[in-house]
Amino acid sequence: MSDNLLEIKDLHIEFRTFDGVVKAINGMSFNVPRGKTIGLVGETGAGKTTTALAVMGLVPSPPGVITSGQILFEGEDVLKMSNLKLRNIRGDKISMIFQNPMTSLNPVYRIGKQMSDVIMMHQNVDRKTAEQRAGDMLEIVGIRRERLNNYPHEFSGGMKQRVCIAMGLSCNPQLLIADEPTTALDVTIQAQILELMKGLKEKYNTSTIFITHALGVVAEIADYVVVAYAGMVIEQGSLKEIFTDPKHPYTKGLFACLPDIDSESSGALKVIPGAMPDPMQLPVGCKFCKRCPEAMKICYMKEPEDIEIAEEHKVRCHLYQMGSKKQ
């Protein structure tokens, strides 16, 4: 068995709607090594959440259809698993934390019940043991165990996200998918949650896919960075590689967009002009070509392939193709 816990290989997902076929994921491929954290970065609509849902086997269908590809979890294809098997994996071996903690908890049940329900289902223990475990998990995320008796509306947003994290980790998952877990929170709470997740990661050695559009957050928490654009990975590598030596014009653009507090110029924030291509009418060549400052003729005609720039650094761009402009 490889040392990758999860391998996503050439995943294609489309949504067949009345208006047409939306090609959300177009050949997404990346690996999650054991015990490492992947920062999956990209703007809205890049297919981050859809990829995550696909890993859980939860792409809403209809209209979602997984047209091709493989998602190997511990060497076994998630896409081919039976419903029952998937259900046993969900919440147990793979768990997911959602973007909006305010709405992720069921408002009519005490959180103790919600947490222990999950533990009871996956660990085959009785209510009392499960409650015990739920209480332990709450304490790990820094909430008093008496709060098990509270309803979700009695918690603040940051606390709710802690509860979600506690729930997500309560069955010792091997893979944690965190879908923008800090986006809905304010900055101080964000820092707390990140700190908490970093601590937990070291403690439990859980592999994590951390989905975000904030590069600052990625720098905090990730070991590897995967940059997604229009449903595919355009650049991936170790945190250091990507942050010190971004290759793809899109990644470079993303970094250029970060406001620099040190610089004297008080000008407007930088942006990457244009918008993500319409997933119903994707361009033939590189999906980024229309916004790319360095676009060449070939970019409009042929889709680039993955090019290994360095060890642990791949980029999908014609600029680095053999024969064209050298690095």
């Binding site: 994996i89 969900r90 919440g91 959602f98 709405t103 992720s104 069921n106 009519v108 979600c164």
Partner: protein
């Protein structure tokens, strides 16, 4: 919780007072001079005047209202001008009949409505869902008395399966309950469906799925209680409506409830009966609403705090 109940009950008092005033006023807006009606067609002017004074009908309206309410608070709902029987006695016999019909109809409508609603929401856009939506619309659009008449025509006259009207046998309940509950069933099924669909789209449902709960668990364990908050309200309101609203249907089936009583009284301009019966219907509606509110507080944990 007890504090909450007390608060709710106290807040009902002004509602009841206003309701009693409105009922009183509306009844007095009915065309016709009550004194003349009581006196009968052959009465002389003097007779009419005598009756007017005897019944206190010559007093200003607010005095009449206070006199009436004083009686009501003592349990005296007045006397029928037609049969000369006490309204409270008559209602004591008839209200349980209506209550029985409304309770059964609500029960049937709630059980079937919620069941169908859940089924239809979990099979969204399927043939079944479309059929249900169509039938629900039909049920909403069909007046219950018309449905009752058609049921009688079909099941009693054409097929001869059921007795047309009699309140002796339990079997006689079937048609009245069916025709009265059809509309409520439609309302409840539609409400359940839309409220389930809304809940099933929530983040915590996706979360529950991501935690590995089976579809059945997600629907019944996670979604249903959330959806029920709105559905309970609807069921309660339907019960309230049925308590007073089966008026015409009761007439169709000859069901000896308050609806039948009320229709007869309206035709005969028996104003005391109309006034008191409407008051009792309004009162039961208010009480049902109170119970619904309390149930709602039981289901929705957010309410207890406020």
């Amino acid at each position: 919780m007890i504090k909450y109940i007390c608060k709710r009950v106290i807040s009902l008092l002004p509602v009841l007072i206003v309701v009693s005033m409105l009922v009183f006023l509306v009844v007095h807006l009915m065309p016709g001079d009550p004194a003349r009606i009581i006196a009968g067609e052959m009465a002389t002017e003097e007779d009419v005047e005598r009756i007017r004074t005897a019944y206190g009908l010559d007093l200003p309206l607010y005095r009449q209202y206070f006199n009436y309410m004083r009686g009501v608070l003592k349990g005296d709902l007045g006397t029928s001008t037609r049969t000369h029987r006490a309204v409270s006695e008559e209602l004591a016999i008839r209200f349980p009949k209506t209550f029985q019909l409304a309770l059964w109809a609500t029960f049937v409508a709630a059980v079937l409505g919620v069941g169908i609603g859940i089924l239809s929401s979990s099979m969204r856009y399927s043939v079944l869902d479309n059929v249900v939506s169509f039938l629900a619309l039909l049920g909403l659009a069909t007046p219950p008395f018309y449905l009752g008449l058609m049921c009688i025509l079909f099941f009693c006259v054409n097929l001869g399966w059921l007795p047309i009207s009699s309140d002796v046998a339990r079997i006689a309940l079937i048609l009245p309950v069916a025709s009265v509950s059809a509309r409520s069933l439609a309302v409840i099924a539609r409400m359940t469906r839309s409220s389930m669909l809304e809940v099933l789209g929530q983040d915590y449902i996706m979360m529950a799925k991501a935690q590995g709960f089976s579809n059945r668990k997600v629907v019944f364990g996670c979604a249903l209680k959330n959806a029920m908050t709105t559905v309970i309200t609807t069921i309660g309101l339907q019960f309230g409506v049925l308590l007073g609203g089966a008026v015409v249907t009761e007439k169709v089936f000859g069901w000896p409830g308050i609806g039948d009583y009320l229709v007869t009284a309206i035709k005969a301009r028996d104003f005391m009966v109309v006034q008191s019966t409407v008051l009792v219907i309004a009162l039961s509606y208010v009480i049902v609403n109170l119970i619904v509110d309390l149930l709602y507080a039981l289901i929705n944990p957010k309410i207890k705090l406020s």
